[in-house]
C-alpha cells in the first residue's frame, strides 16, 4: 500500500515536470508572464514531491518491507539503520530517484534567485531542468521502479508495478543485503558527492541553452553560473577522490585507480568540466572562443548523463547486456537528442558568437589555455575510446576484448605530462600578449632549481627516466607556482607594510579565483607525486607463512604473529583478523597491522580490509588473502609497498581547500552589474 503511494507521488511529480516544460514554452511564446510564473512554481513543487517519494522509499527500507523488490535487493534485517538509509543509492532504481531528488533541489535553488535582470533566461532554464528531471523520473516510472513489489503468480515469483491477476504478494523472510563493498563509509559518501557534482553541472548547461535560445549570447550566462560550475567541480572532484580512497581501502588490490569503465565514466565529465572551467576565463577576459565554451558545457552535460547510466548499469560490458537492458536505448536516445539539439542551437547562433578580439600571441595565456583544452579533450578521447572499444570490437569482429590499464597509462601519460608543464607556465603568461623574453625572465630561476632537484633525485632516489621527467615537471610547476604566489606576497609586504601571513591572507582573499586556482595547481602536483610513486615504484609479494614466520619486501620485514576468527551474529558478519608486525631493515619494530577478511553471510561476499602503515615516504599495505581454519599449513598474505602514495591524499585535502577558496561566495556579486565590472577594472586591480 505504502509502496503504491510512493509510485503514485512519483507519477504526479512526472506530470508536474511535464506541465512545467509545456507551461514555460507556451508562456514564452504567448508572452504570458503568468504562465511562466506557473511553470516556475510547478518546478518548485517537484522538490517537496520528490522528498515525499524519497521519504516513502526510506521508510520502506528501514522497516524491512521485503515485499518491495528494491528493499529486498539492497537491505537485510541485520543491517544497521543508517546503512538502510544509505541503501537508497545502493541500487540502480534508488540512485536514479536520488538523482532526480538532487536535481529538483538544485533547480529550486536556482529558481529562487533574483531574476530581475535575466527574466528572458527563466523559461528556458526551467525547460532544460524539467526535461532532465522528467527523463530521470520517467526512467524510474517506466523501467526501474523502486516501488515494484514481488508477487507470486502461476508463472513464478516476479516483481511487478501493478498487481497481476491471480497473484498474491510475496514477502521474503529476509533481504539479500547491501553488497558489503558498499557498506564502507567511503562508499556511503562517495556516490552522493559524485551525483552532486553531476547534477550541479546541469545548471550551467541550462543557462547555456537559455542563452542560445534567447540569443543573449554575451557572457552573462557564464557570469551567472561561474560559481555553480566551481561548486559542481568541487563535488565531482570530491566524489572522484573519495571513490579512489574507497577503492584503496576496500577493494584490496593495492591501488586506487584501475581504469575501470565505471571510474572512467566519472572522470570524463570531470575532464570536460575542467577544460570548461579554464576556457570560460578566456571568454570573460578576452571575449574569445564562445562556441567552444558552449560545446564544452554541452559535452559535460551529456557525459554526466552517460556517466550516471554507466555507473550503475554495467551495460557497456557487452553488446548483449546493452541490448537486454531496458534503459540502455533510452539513455542513448536522450543523450543523442540533447547533443544534436544543443549543437544545432550553436550552429543557429553561430554568427552572434563571434570572438570580440583576436588572438595575438602564441605565448599569451589564451593560447596556452587553448592548448590545455586540447589536451583535456585528447585525454577524453582516449578514455571514451577505451570505454567503447570493447563494444565496437564485439559488434564488428565478434571478438570480446578488455581495455585495461596498460592502454590508458601509455596513451594518457604523455598527455598528463604536457598538462603538468602547462600548469607551470600558463599562470606566468599574460592575457593578450607575452613574449619569450617576458616569459623567460620569470622562468629561468625556477627552471634551474627544478633541474637541480631532478639531479638530486637522480643521485638519491631513482634513475627511472619516466620518474625523472615526472619529478622534473612537478618540481618545475611547484616552483613556478610558489614563485608567482611569492611575488604577490612580497609586493604586498612592500606596498602595504604587512607581515608575511597577513600579506598571504589578504592577497588570497582579494583575488580568490586566482590564488584558489594556484592552491589547486599545487595540490595537483602533490597528487602527481603520489601517482608517480605508486605507478612506477609499487612493489608486491605474496607468500603463505605460518605463525612466527616472516616475509620480506623492499627492506621491510613483515612478521606473522597471530590470527583469530569470530562471528558477529547480530551484524551477520564473520571476521578473520591477523596480527602482523612490521620491521624496518635495521630490525626496528615500526608497528602492528591488522589485515582483515570480513565475510557477510547475507550477501555471501567477502571483503578484504588491508592493514596500512602510512608515512610520507611510502606505505606498507598488507592483505590477508587466504586463511584455512582446518588445514593449518599457513596463512597467505599479499604485501604491497606503495612509495609516496600518501602525497595523493595530502594533495586531495589541499585540493578541496583550493576550490573552496576559489568558490567561496562573495558578499553579493549580483548587485554589481556585469557591464560596470567590465568598465571598472581598477576596482579589482587596485585592491
Amino acid at each position: 500500500m505504502i509502496a503504491q503511494m510512493g509510485f503514485g507521488v512519483l507519477a504526479v511529480t512526472f506530470l508536474v515536470t511535464l506541465y512545467s516544460v509545456f507551461a514555460a514554452i507556451y508562456g514564452e511564446y504567448s508572452k504570458s508572464p503568468a504562465l511562466v510564473e506557473s511553470a516556475r512554481r510547478a518546478m518548485l513543487l517537484t522538490w517537496p514531491l520528490l522528498t515525499i517519494t524519497a521519504g516513502i522509499l526510506i521508510y520502506l527500507l528501514i522497516t524491512n518491507h521485503f515485499e518491495v523488490q528494491f528493499v529486498y535487493e539492497v537491505t537485510s534485517r541485520s543491517m544497521p539503520t543508517y546503512l538502510k538509509v544509505t541503501a537508497w543509492w545502493g541500487g540502480q532504481a534508488g540512485s536514479l530517484l536520488f538523482w532526480s531528488w538532487l536535481m529538483s533541489a538544485f533547480a529550486s535553488i536556482v529558481t529562487l534567485r533574483r531574476w530581475d535582470r535575466d527574466r528572458e533566461f527563466l523559461p528556458w532554464v526551467i525547460v532544460v531542468a524539467c526535461v532532465t528531471m522528467a527523463f530521470f523520473i520517467g526512467m524510474n516510472l517506466f523501467f526501474e521502479n523502486p516501488f515494484a513489489q514481488i508477487y507470486q503468480t502461476f508463472d513464478g515469483i516476479k516483481a511487478y508495478t501493478f498487481q497481476p491477476a491471480n497473484s498474491i504478494l510475496y514477502t521474503a523472510p529476509d533481504g539479500r543485503g547491501l553488497n558489503p563493498l558498499l557498506r564502507h563509509p567511503g562508499m556511503i559518501i562517495h556516490p552522493p558527492m559524485l551525483y552532486l557534482g553531476f547534477v550541479s553541472f546541469v545548471i550551467p548547461y541550462a543557462f547555456a541553452m537559455a542563452a542560445l535560445i534567447t540569443g543573449r549570447t554575451d557572457d552573462r550566462w557564464i557570469r551567472i553560473t561561474r560559481r555553480w560550475t566551481l561548486w559542481a567541480w568541487l563535488f565531482l572532484s570530491c566524489g572522484l577522490v573519495l571513490g579512489s580512497r574507497w577503492a584503496y581501502d576496500v577493494l584490496g588490490w593495492g591501488g586506487f585507480w584501475g581504469w575501470d569503465p565505471v571510474e572512467i565514466a566519472a572522470l570524463m565529465p570531470w575532464l570536460t568540466g575542467t577544460a570548461f572551467l579554464h576556457s570560460v576565463m578566456i571568454q570573460e577576459k578576452r571575449g574569445l572562443f564562445k562556441h567552444w565554451n558552449l560545446l564544452l558545457i554541452i559535452l559535460t552535460y551529456d557525459l554526466v548523463i552517460f556517466g550516471t547510466f554507466l555507473t550503475r548499469s554495467g551495460v557497456l560490458s557487452s553488446v548483449h547486456a546493452f541490448a537486454q537492458s531496458a534503459i540502455g536505448p533510452f539513455f542513448f536516445t536522450f543523450i543523442g537528442v540533447t547533443l544534436i539539439t544543443s549543437v544545432a542551437l550553436i550552429i543557429h547562433r553561430w554568427g552572434t558568437l563571434r570572438s570580440e578580439t583576436e588572438m595575438t600571441s602564441l605565448l599569451s595565456r589564451e593560447a596556452l589555455f587553448l592548448l590545455n583544452n586540447l589536451i583535456f579533450i585528447s585525454v577524453l578521447i582516449v578514455c571514451f575510446w577505451g570505454v567503447i572499444y570493447p563494444l565496437i570490437s564485439e559488434l564488428f569482429t565478434e571478438q570480446k576484448v578488455t581495455v585495461g590499464p596498460p592502454f590508458y597509462e601509455r596513451a594518457t601519460g604523455p598527455l598528463f605530462a604536457v598538462l603538468l608543464f602547462l600548469m607551470g607556465i600558463a599562470p606566468l603568461s599574460a592575457w593578450g600578449n607575452s613574449t619569450m623574453k617576458t616569459l623567460g625572465r620569470a622562468l629561468w630561476k625556477p627552471t634551474l632549481l627544478a633541474v637541480f632537484i631532478t639531479v638530486l633525485i637522480f643521485f638519491t632516489y631513482s634513475r627511472d627516466p619516466y620518474a625523472l621527467v615526472g619529478f622534473f615537471l612537478i618540481a618545475f610547476t611547484i616552483l613556478l607556482t610558489l614563485y608567482e604566489y611569492g611575488r604577490g606576497i612580497l609586493a604586498r609586504m612592500r606596498g602595504q607594510n604587512e607581515n608575511f601571513f597577513t600579506a598571504f591572507w589578504n592577497l588570497t582573499g582579494r583575488n580568490r579565483r586566482r590564488y584558489g586556482g594556484y592552491i589547486v595547481h599545487l595540490s595537483i602536483m602533490l597528487m602527481a607525486i603520489g601517482i608517480l610513486g605508486i605507478e612506477l615504484f609499487q612493489v608486491e609479494t605474496q607468500g603463505t607463512i605460518g605463525i612466527g614466520d616472516s616475509l620480506q619486501l623492499s627492506g621491510y620485514t613483515i612478521k606473522y604473529k597471530d590470527v583469530a576468527s569470530w562471528d558477529n551474529l547480530p551484524a551477520g558478519v564473520n571476521y578473520t583478523r591477523a596480527v602482523v608486525e612490521v620491521y624496518d631493515k635495521d630490525g626496528r619494530l615500526l608497528g602492528n597491522l591488522h589485515p582483515r577478511k570480513d565475510y557477510y553471510y547475507d550477501s555471501q561476499q567477502p571483503m578484504t580490509i588491508p592493514g596500512q602503515l602510512a608515512s610520507l615516504k611510502d606505505e606498507v599495505y598488507v592483505l590477508l588473502i587466504d586463511w584455512e581454519p582446518i588445514n593449518q599449513t599457513g596463512t597467505t598474505f599479499k604485501i604491497f609497498v606503495n612509495p609516496l602514495v600518501n602525497w595523493m591524499w595530502l594533495g586531495s585535502l589541499l585540493f578541496l581547500v583550493g576550490i573552496v577558496v576559489a568558490a567561496w561566495p562573495d558578499k553579493d556579486p549580483e548587485l554589481v552589474p556585469a557591464r560596470v565590472e567590465k568598465r571598472l577594472p581598477q576596482t579589482s586591480a587596485a585592491d
Binding site: 562556441h291 578488455t402 608486491e540 567590465k678
Partner: protein
C-alpha cells in the same frame, strides 16, 4: 603561424604516444613458481568470468583455480607468453588486459585527436579573423585586460624593492 605551431605540437604528441605504445616490459622466467611468479602472469590477464577484474586480485574460487593452472604451467616450464596464449585460446581475447590488435587500439584515438585538432584550429582561424562589424565588438571594445595591469603593478613593486 599559429596553426603550424599547434599542428606541430599535435604531431609531437602523436609521436610520443606511439613511442610509449611500443615500450613493452621484458620479463624473465624461473623454474620453481612462487606466488609472485603466478601473480606476475595473472596480472597480465583478466578474469574470464567477472567483469573488469584482473586475475591476480579476483577473489572467486574459479579464479583461484585459474591461478593454480598458471602455477602448474609455470612448473612445466611454459613461458608467460605461452600461458597467455593458452588462456586466450580457451576463453577468448577478453582475458588479455589489452586488445590484441594494437594498431587499431592506439591509432583510432590518435587519428581522432589529430582530426579534432585540425578541425578545431580551422574553426578558430575563422573566428579569429577580425570581423569589424560584429555586434559584440561594435558595442564594447575589447575588454580591458586586468591581469596585465595587475602583473605590471607587481613588477613595479618588485622593482622598487630592488
Amino acid at each position: 603561424m599559429l596553426k603550424q605551431f599547434l599542428r606541430n605540437t599535435e604531431y609531437a604528441l602523436l609521436a610520443l604516444l606511439f613511442l610509449i605504445g611500443l615500450a613493452t616490459p621484458v620479463i624473465a622466467q624461473r623454474s620453481t613458481p612462487t606466488d609472485d611468479d603466478v601473480n606476475r602472469v595473472a596480472k597480465q590477464l583478466y578474469c574470464p568470468v567477472c567483469q573488469n577484474t584482473p586475475l591476480d586480485v579476483c577473489p572467486t574460487e574459479a579464479c583461484r583455480g585459474w591461478r593454480e593452472e598458471i602455477r602448474t604451467m609455470l612448473a612445466q616450464g611454459k613461458s608467460d607468453q605461452e600461458i597467455k596464449d593458452y588462456f586466450v585460446n580457451y576463453y577468448g581475447a577478453r582475458v588479455l588486459n589489452e586488445p590484441p590488435n594494437r594498431l587499431v587500439t592506439y591509432l583510432v584515438p590518435a587519428v581522432a585527436i589529430l582530426l579534432g585538432a585540425i578541425m578545431l584550429f580551422r574553426g578558430f582561424q575563422l573566428w579569429i579573423k577580425p570581423t569589424g562589424t560584429g555586434s559584440a565588438s561594435a558595442e564594447s571594445p575589447a575588454p580591458p585586460v586586468q591581469q596585465d595591469e595587475y602583473i605590471a603593478r607587481l613588477e613595479e613593486e618588485l622593482k622598487k624593492r630592488k
